[in-house]
C-alpha cells in the first residue's frame, strides 16, 4: 500500500507524458524519451514501466505493487529546441537521484515548457544566414554569392517564424520560405554577377532541411523503433518535396 505522501499513478503518468512530449517536440530521439520516462517513473516509486513512443503519441503503462495505470498523450509538431530538452532532462536527473520531489518536478517542467529562454529573432536570423552561407562555401559557392545567400537564408528564417506564429500550415510555410530565400539569394547573385546562381538558390534553402530529424530517423531504426523511424522518414521526405517545389519555382523565374 502506498504512503499518503506518494503521488498517484495518474499524476506520475501525466508528468511522464509531459516530459516525454516536451522532449520529442524538442528534437530528442526515441531512446532519450523512453529512458527519461522510465527514470522519472522509477524515481517516483513505480515498480514496472513500459513506454511506447510514437511520432504523434506516447503511451505509458505504470505499475506500483498491485496498482497499475495506462495513459496516452498526444505529441505536437516536432521541432528542435535543445534548451527545452535540457531543462526537462535536468528535472529527470534530479528525480532519479532523489534530490527533488514530485510537486517540485511538476512545477519545474511546467515552468520550463511555458517559458523556455530563446535567442532574439535578429540573432537567430543572422546565425541562420551565416550557417547557410557557410554550407554554401562547403559546397563550392563563390565568395561573391556568399552575402546574397546569407541574406536570403536570414530573411527566410524571419519569414518562417512569422508564418508559423500565424499558425499557417507547416508544409505551405516550407514552400513559401524556400521560394523566398531562393529568390532573394538568386536575385542577389544576379545583381552582383556571381557565378553560382543555382548553388546559391539551393544553399539559401538549407535552413529547411530537417537535419536532426534525418539523423534521429536512423538512430530510432537502430534502436528497434521502426514505427517512429518510418514516420520521421516520411515527414522528412515531405519536407524535402515541398522545399523543392519552392526552389524549382524560384529557379524557373530566375532562369537558373
Amino acid at each position: 500500500m502506498r504512503s499518503p505522501d506518494a503521488p498517484s499513478l495518474e499524476g506520475i503518468a501525466q508528468l511522464c507524458l509531459q516530459a516525454g512530449h516536451t522532449l520529442l517536440e524538442s528534437g530528442a530521439n526515441g531512446r532519450t524519451v523512453s529512458q527519461s520516462i522510465e527514470s522519472l517513473a522509477y524515481g517516483l516509486g513505480c515498480t514496472s514501466v513500459e513506454t511506447y513512443c510514437q511520432h504523434s503519441a506516447i503511451i505509458v503503462m505504470l505499475q506500483r505493487g498491485a496498482e497499475s495505470f495506462t495513459h496516452m498523450g498526444k505529441v505536437g509538431e516536432h521541432g528542435v529546441n535543445l534548451r527545452g530538452g535540457e531543462v526537462v532532462l535536468k528535472v529527470v536527473d534530479q528525480i532519479a537521484r532523489g534530490t527533488i520531489h514530485y510537486a517540485d518536478a511538476q512545477a519545474q517542467i511546467k515552468a520550463a515548457t511555458d517559458a523556455i529562454h530563446k535567442y532574439p529573432l535578429w540573432l537567430v536570423c543572422l546565425a541562420t544566414g551565416l550557417a547557410c552561407g557557410a554550407f554554401g562555401r562547403l559546397l563550392g559557392l563563390d565568395w561573391a554569392s556568399f552575402v546574397p545567400v546569407c541574406l536570403g537564408a536570414g530573411l527566410g528564417q524571419w519569414l518562417r517564424v512569422t508564418m508559423l506564429r500565424r499558425a499557417i500550415n507547416f508544409y505551405l510555410v516550407v514552400t513559401n520560405v524556400s521560394f523566398t530565400a531562393a529568390m532573394i539569394a538568386g536575385g542577389g547573385v544576379g545583381l552582383i554577377g556571381g557565378s553560382s546562381l543555382e548553388l546559391a538558390t539551393i544553399s539559401a534553402t538549407l535552413l529547411l532541411i530537417p537535419g536532426p530529424a534525418m539523423l534521429n530517423c536512423q538512430v530510432d531504426a537502430l534502436d528497434g523503433k521502426p514505427n517512429l523511424a518510418v514516420a520521421r522518414a516520411f515527414r522528412v521526405a515531405q519536407i524535402i518535396l515541398f522545399l523543392t517545389l519552392g526552389l524549382i519555382a524560384a529557379q524557373r523565374l530566375l532562369g537558373a
Binding site: 515498480t47 535543445l82 546565425a127 534525418m214 534502436d223
Partner: protein
C-alpha cells in the same frame, strides 16, 4: 592534401554548426562547443576524402563516429548534461541536404526530358538519391554506435 582547403572546410563546418546551434536554441555555453564539433567533423571528413581517398559516405561515417565518440567521452565525464546533442549539431554540416534537394529537383526535371534522355536522367537521379541516402544512413549509424556499445545506466527501484 591542400592545407588551405582543409582549414577552409573546418572553419566553415564550425560556422555552419554554430549557426545551426543558435537556430536549434542550444544553450549559450555550448555554442563554442558546437563550432568545435562542426570543425572536427568537417576536418575529419576532408582528411577522409582528400588524403585517404574515401567516398563521401565512408568519410562521413568516420567523421560522425569521431564526433560521437568525443561527445560520449565528454558526457561520461560529466561535462555535458545532454549527451548526443553536441554530436547531432556537430554532424549537421555533414548532412547531404543539398544532394537530397538536388535529387528531387532532377526528379521533377525528368518530366520535361525527351524520351531519349529519360534513361540518363533516371540513372543520375538514382545515383544522387542513393548517395544522399547512404551518406545519411552512415552518419546516423555512426552517431548511434557509442550509445549502443556503452548505453547509459538505468536506475530501477
Amino acid at each position: 592534401m591542400d592545407l588551405a582547403h582543409f582549414i577552409h572546410q573546418a572553419l566553415f563546418g564550425g560556422v555552419a554548426a554554430a549557426g545551426f546551434g543558435i537556430l536549434f536554441n542550444c544553450p549559450r555555453r555550448m555554442i563554442i562547443l558546437c563550432f568545435a564539433a562542426g570543425a572536427l567533423a568537417l576536418a575529419t571528413r576532408t582528411i577522409g576524402t582528400d588524403a585517404v581517398d574515401l567516398s563521401l559516405p565512408e568519410a562521413s561515417f568516420i567523421a560522425a563516429l569521431v564526433v560521437a565518440i568525443v561527445d560520449r567521452a565528454w558526457w561520461q565525464h560529466g561535462h555535458a548534461f545532454q549527451g548526443s546533442v553536441l554530436a547531432v549539431v556537430g554532424c549537421i554540416p555533414l548532412v547531404p541536404g543539398s544532394l537530397a534537394a538536388r535529387g528531387v529537383e532532377e526528379l521533377f526535371a525528368i518530366t520535361r526530358e525527351s524520351a531519349s534522355k529519360e534513361l540518363t536522367s533516371a540513372s543520375t537521379i538514382l545515383e544522387i538519391l542513393a548517395l544522399a541516402a547512404i551518406t545519411l544512413a552512415s552518419i546516423g549509424t555512426a552517431l548511434a554506435i557509442p550509445m549502443l556499445i556503452s548505453p547509459p545506466k538505468r536506475k530501477k527501484s
